[in-house]
């Protein structure tokens, strides 16, 4: 595995469903032989781990105890009955599988990356959804060829998963920045010049902003 390939894979090392076994093993082996990528892996892991811990910052976000108790009670009450009627289980699994397939197809259609152009790196769902585009909110998304001709569309997702905001000045090498996680409506990303599916504009999503010393956002990363 090359360093650039490792850079693409490093963010999925902690997500076991996102990488196949061979790629994972190749990436780990590469990190053992390459000091730069090993350092990158450590940095990404530290970042991921601590951002994951942010969920507990908001203790009241968890379900109330009475809801959890009711849920557990409901599972306990229904479990023996389900076991006694295997045909219902079969039907339930069939319906669930069909629903999952349907959702999967819809999700794939919604999230599939644009055809690869000169700027395409492919793969990451963030890239498919957050490619820079005109800030004209009402304008339809560009065709792939037109997007490729747009210099701003050639943004590169680096190993940290951040996508530079269109036409934002890159931070100086000696300038510090903070990663801030926020919850916003997907439609708000349009204000940064990013394309937004109008039907999902009200959907709340978690994003990380890379915020410079002057408080302005310079890059964005969608969370899973």
């Amino acid at each position: 595995m090359r360093c650039d390939e490792f850079g693409n894979a490093v963010h999925d090392l902690g997500r076991f469903a996102a990488l196949d076994r061979n790629t994972r093993e190749e990436a780990l082996a590469h990190a053992q032989s390459c000091n730069r990528c090993a350092a990158l892996k450590d940095a990404v892991e530290a970042l991921e781990a601590n951002l994951a811990s942010l969920a507990l910052e908001d203790e009241s976000s968890g379900p109330p105890e009475r809801v959890e108790a009711a849920l557990r009670a409901a599972f306990r009450a229904n479990r023996p009955r389900v076991l006694r009627t295997p045909w219902r289980t079969a039907w339930a699994w069939s319906l669930a599988t069909a629903a999952a397939l349907g959702i999967g197809v819809l999700a794939w259609q919604e999230w599939r990356p644009a055809p690869k152009g000169p700027a395409g790196k492919g793969g990451a769902p963030e890239e498919a959804n957050v490619q820079p585009a005109p800030a004209n909110h009402s304008a339809p998304q560009q065709p792939a060829a037109q997007a490729a001709a747009n210099p701003a569309s050639k943004s590169v997702l680096d190993a940290s998963g951040f996508l530079p905001l269109p036409y934002e000045a890159a931070p100086a090498a000696d300038e510090q920045a903070d990663v801030v996680r926020v919850k916003i409506a997907r439609g708000s990303l349009a204000a940064f010049g990013l394309p937004v599916d109008g039907e999902r504009a009200d959907e709340l999503i978690d994003v990380d902003f890379l915020v410079g010393q002057d408080g302005t956002p310079q890059a964005v990363r969608l969370r899973d």
């Binding site: 781990a49 943004s155 100086a172």
Partner: protein
């Protein structure tokens, strides 16, 4: 039984959105609003030793909306660095460019300690602190975390960089650079070119950005200034976590999270006599 199950399910469905959405002092963000969930401190930047200072950082933003409304905000915080390279900076978040923070501005204090190899993010409101390791490529003086910066697209060649010479800003000499980016007409639906200009004034002596001005017709004008720069060694207690803070430390995923109370810090070699970790978090920055 089926009716009972339906009732339980309906109850759960009704309760879930509220249960997962509520947070203290802030509801779900509306259009153009963001709810701050947390902060991971300090990426990039250099570890600078032997150049201590403390300063007041001011961020002024001025926007004019399409209806002519003017929005002006000023946020003032403090920045400290000791001779060992430890940095403490306060963060007040009231917005991100065109997106505003819902409710009160979110406040954090970030302490980067390359001596101990850790970064602390303090939440003064909750009196909690998160501890995380300093990324390895920032562990040595002069090192930085350049590898985590997003790479700018190679094709974005419309940026022009020019030197602005040297000026004295806030009592220190600083070298200026202006980067101008032009969004060509038609690129984003604009009928004429949009010029985005960023000026940076960097002190080679202090190795810190002392002033920057960003003029972007899309988002307004933002000015960052370091003022009242004092080059004495800051109080060592500023780089320690108050003992009444609860430490939250976690591995990958929340299930491995654990909490513990902060232990009193060992006496720092450069701590003034009688100094101790402050029992209260620093005064919140004024806005």
């Amino acid at each position: 039984m089926r009716k009972r199950r339906l009732l339980i399910l309906a109850g759960l469905l009704a309760a879930a959105p509220q249960a997962f959405a509520q947070g203290p002092g802030a509801g779900l963000p509306g259009p153009g609003l963001a709810r701050v969930l947390g902060l991971e401190g300090m990426l990039g930047g250099k570890i600078v030793q032997g150049a201590p200072f403390s300063a007041q950082a001011t961020i002024d933003t001025a926007q004019t909306l399409v209806d002519g409304t003017h929005i002006n905000r000023t946020i003032t915080t403090m920045v400290y660095r000791d001779s060992q390279g430890r940095v403490r900076h306060e963060v007040t978040l009231s917005g991100f460019g065109p997106v505003q923070v819902s409710g009160q501005p979110a406040r954090f204090v970030v302490i980067s300690d390359p001596v101990a190899g850790v970064v602390y993010v303090l939440n003064p409101e909750r009196k909690t602190v998160r501890r995380m390791p300093l990324p390895p490529d920032r562990g040595a003086p002069g090192g930085n975390r350049g590898s985590v910066w997003p790479q700018k697209p190679a094709g974005e060649a419309s940026a022009q960089t020019e030197s602005l010479g040297t000026q004295t800003i806030s009592g220190v000499k600083a070298e200026g650079t202006r980067v101008t980016r032009t969004i060509p007409a038609g690129q984003i639906g604009n009928d004429k070119p949009v010029v985005v200009a960023v000026e940076r004034w960097y002190s080679p002596d202090l190795q810190v950005l002392v002033k920057s001005t960003r003029k972007d017709p899309r988002f307004g004008e933002t000015t960052f200034t370091l003022a009242n720069i004092q080059r004495q060694e800051p109080d060592a207690a500023l780089f320690q976590v108050p003992v009444d803070y609860t430490l939250r430390q976690g591995g990958r995923g929340a299930m491995r999270m654990r909490q513990e109370k902060m232990q009193p810090p060992p006496a720092a070699p450069n701590a003034p006599a009688g100094s101790a970790a402050p029992s209260e978090p620093p005064a919140p920055p004024s806005e």
